[in-house]
């Protein structure tokens, strides 16, 4: 897989001398911090997908809207690409820089502008950390619902760009369900407000379109989010299973009983072991799989639901069911799950985290497929799922220092995503396509669908200057690398040049 921007496949970029762009921007936006020395650029060469690194031409760290506007206007005029970055915690390389591009870092926009407890809204700048919003709302008994695992570090601007999820999505939705309004600067530097503090806005739902658009349609400069009353109580049940498929079926049984848990997570044996070794969460090491089921809401309802879920789990063949006795034990149960990635990281020099989604009923079949791929490749795979909403995070263990293992891990990852697509799912549930899954987009979407995405992009950024090479592949890339299958020896898109 060729992860780095390839002009032959991803489209030509305007070539400008670094000194020319630097001088131009320094003159146009004199008071903005602009990094240009290699040692200053180095820290920005990757985001959370650290296996891929590119040194940007320049890094801009604006502090005012006027600076962002000035930067965009000049880049538009010069034809220089702009990659926007928040906290840099993204896992799909959505903020991977371009050699010929400016990296626009929004981290200095870190103010919570307003928390309105009566309207239950918070107005924040894009560089504010996800968790900081809930902390600011806490004195009013309110919180911001989406909670990606990186919530202590990730910024809300990046959450909007990726339409970030978390462990509570099934009940409380993704970022798109919790954002009321965004302020955006277009590549031409024009300001737009999309959405509103009211529950809808006239015209097309461009707010929905902006969520998850990976910085390809505009630069988000301010966000208004919805706050929810903190549930009165949350209780968590941990169920052990001697068989992964039984655990998978139990997930469906809970939903079938009419219960929408606040969180419903599953881990397999390898992930259990990793987490237990790391945080001593009290997980059963003899289990093939565990389910963590959190029920939240009004105390009396939660107690009723806990009884129902317990009965369902027993009927589904759980070998042990444990309810966290107190808040401390509940936190411990979750600590194992929330630290599953770093825990797996301790077992192996490197791991590669996938993010496919599937209809839940396909879980046993996809798990078997993953096990087969693991065996065939010789790479271990630990499975962690947001089981309630069918979002799988298989973690492929490898050692990048061993010749060919990274490529092998990527190959296994790609095949896992194709399994998800074949099962009627998606290549990404919450991490985004970014640069990482650009080739797999070709297996999820047909060329005509990809062309519609290009048309949407053209409506906002016809010169393709915002984050080029991410999210939507070119048809040339799909023809070259994509998983479009060759039928009867007929190559798809015979009209396209091949390399």
């Amino acid at each position: 897989m060729n992860i780095l921007f390839d002009e032959r496949l991803d489209g030509e970029l305007v070539r400008r001398e670094k000194s020319e762009v630097l001088n131009d921007l320094q003159q146009a936006v004199p008071d903005m911090t602009l990094l240009h020395r290699e040692e200053d650029l180095r820290p920005f060469e990757c985001d959370g997908l650290a296996a891929y690194r590119v040194l940007p031409m320049l890094v801009a760290l604006p502090e005012t809207l006027e600076q962002v506007k000035g930067l965009l206007q000049r880049c538009h005029a010069l034809g220089v690409p702009v990659v926007t970055r928040g906290a840099g915690t993204g896992l799909s390389g959505g903020a991977l820089p371009l050699e010929q591009g400016v990296l626009l870092v929004m981290s200095r926009f870190n103010q919570i502008l307003k928390v309105d407890p009566d309207a239950r809204l918070a107005r924040v700048q894009p560089g504010v950390r996800n968790l900081a919003i809930s902390e600011a709302a806490a004195p009013y008994g309110l919180y911001y619902a989406p909670d990606p695992s990186s919530q202590i570090a990730c910024s809300i601007g990046g959450n909007v760009a990726e339409n970030a999820g978390g462990v509570h999505c099934l009940k409380y939705g993704l970022t798109v369900h919790n954002v009321m309004r965004v302020d955006v600067l277009t590549i031409e530097g024009e300001h737009m407000t999309l959405g509103a503090e009211s529950l809808d806005a006239p015209g097309f739902d461009l707010l929905a379109l902006m969520n998850g658009s990976e910085g390809m349609l505009g630069v988000v400069t301010e966000i208004t989010v919805k706050l929810l009353p903190k549930p009165e109580t949350a209780k968590v049940l941990m169920a052990s299973f001697d068989d992964v498929e039984k655990a998978g079926r139990a997930v469906g049984d809970i939903i079938a009983a009419g219960i929408i848990p606040g969180g419903l997570e599953m881990m397999d044996k390898l992930a259990i072991k990793a987490a237990e070794d790391f945080v001593k969460a009290g997980y059963p090491l003899d289990a093939e799989a565990i389910l963590l089921c959190e029920l939240d809401g009004v105390e009396a309802d939660v107690d009723d639901d806990c009884d129902t879920v317990r009965r369902v789990l027993e009927a589904a063949g759980a070998t042990n069911i444990q309810q966290a006795r107190d808040e401390a034990e509940r936190a411990k149960f979750w600590a194992g799950r929330k630290n599953a990635f770093p825990a797996v990281g301790r077992m192996s020099p490197d791991y590669y985290c996938m993010d496919g989604t599937i209809p839940r009923r396909e879980l046993p079949r996809v798990l078997k497929g993953i096990a087969a791929l693991s065996e065939e490749s010789g790479l271990l795979v630990a499975n962690v799922f947001h089981a309630g909403d069918g979002n799988m995070h298989p973690l492929i263990l490898f050692d990048a220092n061993k010749e060919g293992e990274l490529a092998l891990a990527e190959e296994v990852g790609g095949k896992i995503l194709e399994l998800c697509v074949a099962a009627g799912g998606s290549i990404t549930g919450e991490h985004g396509v970014g640069r990482e899954k650009i080739n797999q987009m070709c297996s999820q979407f047909q060329p005509d669908e990809i062309s519609v995405f290009h048309a949407l992009k053209a409506a906002f950024d016809p010169k393709r200057l915002l984050n080029p090479g991410k999210n939507i592949p070119t048809l040339a890339r799909c023809a070259e690398f994509g998983a479009m299958h060759v039928h009867n020896n007929e190559l798809p898109h015979p009209e396209l040049p091949r390399f």
Partner: protein, 366 residues
């Protein structure tokens, strides 16, 4: 397992519809996309050849355990709701139904949501995926049948509320939710100022409220959730019991309030939460507060600019529900800001270059 719920009358006419769109594209013939034709009053009149969706009907797949249903756009809302209710599930956004012929495609295209909207979410929030006929008459699939999917741009949600101006919705996949175990509606005598204050207070607590309206000195509340919380909340709020049909009458505008006098038009004001009563010359009896005050139905002869200025001042907007031909505003939807309009035009030009999809339905210019 997926349950197929095909009825004798259910048909898949997507191929025919694609042919019709292709021919309209070639001949540059504007199309008026029609489902049950019960929502034609909403938006500007469209002058075009009818593209009839009603025959493209039936549930394609429904798996209650997955919480996902996929349905053809021409399926009647009543049929879909009955199929879901049979499995003790529902469309949580409570789509309004302005007549028995009302279809799910129309519900999504108009993007309207009922009384549960502030608590559960809007129509677009439950759309997981769509099949769409493009201007060239190609049937394409966006989104999917899974709860989480961030691959590509969210074209499906863009289609919700676009009123058919960007493409033809043929199939829609929804996230569905269980019908709550317990429900209780009640009415309380309380003046407007106190009611709005009370709603703000209640809103900050994790109570099982799923509808809240105020009219003529009464606050109407619906509680839904577990048996324990609903009965406890009911006991603490008091009030008189209210028949659940009240919410349907509010949702579908069959409540007596929606009878207009001569010279009046019906307006919908969409306002931020916790907005005080607007300083408009409208008798209190002619305003119905829904969505805990975020959606206000107003019967008035005031002109569009007066209403819109008052809404804009507090961050809201106003939509006219009375067609121009019956005395309503020429532009039912609030005009867009210049930059936002530019990108609307760009989008329309990209997805509907010849203006064949419901031209002028939202705004005269596109």
């Amino acid at each position: 397992m997926t349950e197929l719920a095909m009825h004798a009358a259910d048909r898949d006419i997507a191929d025919t519809l694609c042919d019709q769109v292709r021919s309209a594209y070639e001949t540059r013939t504007p199309l008026r996309i029609v489902g049950g034709d019960t929502r034609a009053f909403y938006g500007r009149p469209v002058d075009g050849q009818a593209l009839t969706m009603a025959e493209h009907s039936g549930i394609v797949s429904y798996d209650p355990v997955e919480l996902v249903v996929t349905v053809r756009a021409g399926t009647r809302l009543s049929a879909l709701q009955a199929a879901l209710a049979d499995k003790h599930q529902m469309l949580a956004f409570e789509p309004p139904m302005f007549g028995e012929a009302s279809t799910i495609g129309g519900a999504v295209a108009t993007g309207l949501s009922g009384p549960r909207r502030p608590w559960a979410g809007a129509a677009r929030d439950f759309v997981l995926g769509t099949r769409v006929i493009t201007q060239e008459g190609k049937l394409l699939r966006f989104g999917g049948e899974v709860m989480k999917n961030v691959a590509g741009y969210d074209l499906s949600r863009l289609m919700a509320g676009a009123q058919g101006t960007l493409g033809v919705l043929t199939d829609i996949s929804f996230k569905v939710l269980p019908i709550p175990n317990a429900t209780h509606s009640l009415r309380l005598s309380i003046n407007l100022a106190d009611a709005l204050k009370k709603l703000a207070e209640l809103g900050r607590k994790p109570l099982p409220i799923t509808a809240a309206a105020w009219h003529n000195g009464e606050l109407f509340l619906r509680l839904e959730g577990g048996n324990s919380s609903v009965s406890a909340t009911q006991a603490s709020l008091g009030g008189e019991p209210l028949d659940a049909s009240f919410w349907t009458s509010l949702r579908d505008h069959t409540h007596d309030f929606f009878q207009l006098s001569d010279g009046q038009a019906l307006w919908r004001l969409s306002l931020p939460p916790h907005t005080s009563p607007l300083a408009l010359d409208i008798p209190e009896a002619d305003i119905f507060y829904d969505w805990a005050g975020c959606q206000r139905w107003v019967k008035t002869s005031l002109d569009a600019s007066t209403l819109r200025a008052a809404c804009a001042a507090v961050g809201g907007h106003a939509t006219c529900y009375t067609p121009h031909a019956q005395g309503g505003a020429v532009d039912p939807f609030t005009p867009l800001n210049t930059v936002v309009e530019k990108y609307h035009r760009n989008l329309k030009a990209e997805l509907d270059a010849h203006g064949i999809f419901n031209p002028g339905r939202l705004y005269a210019a596109f």
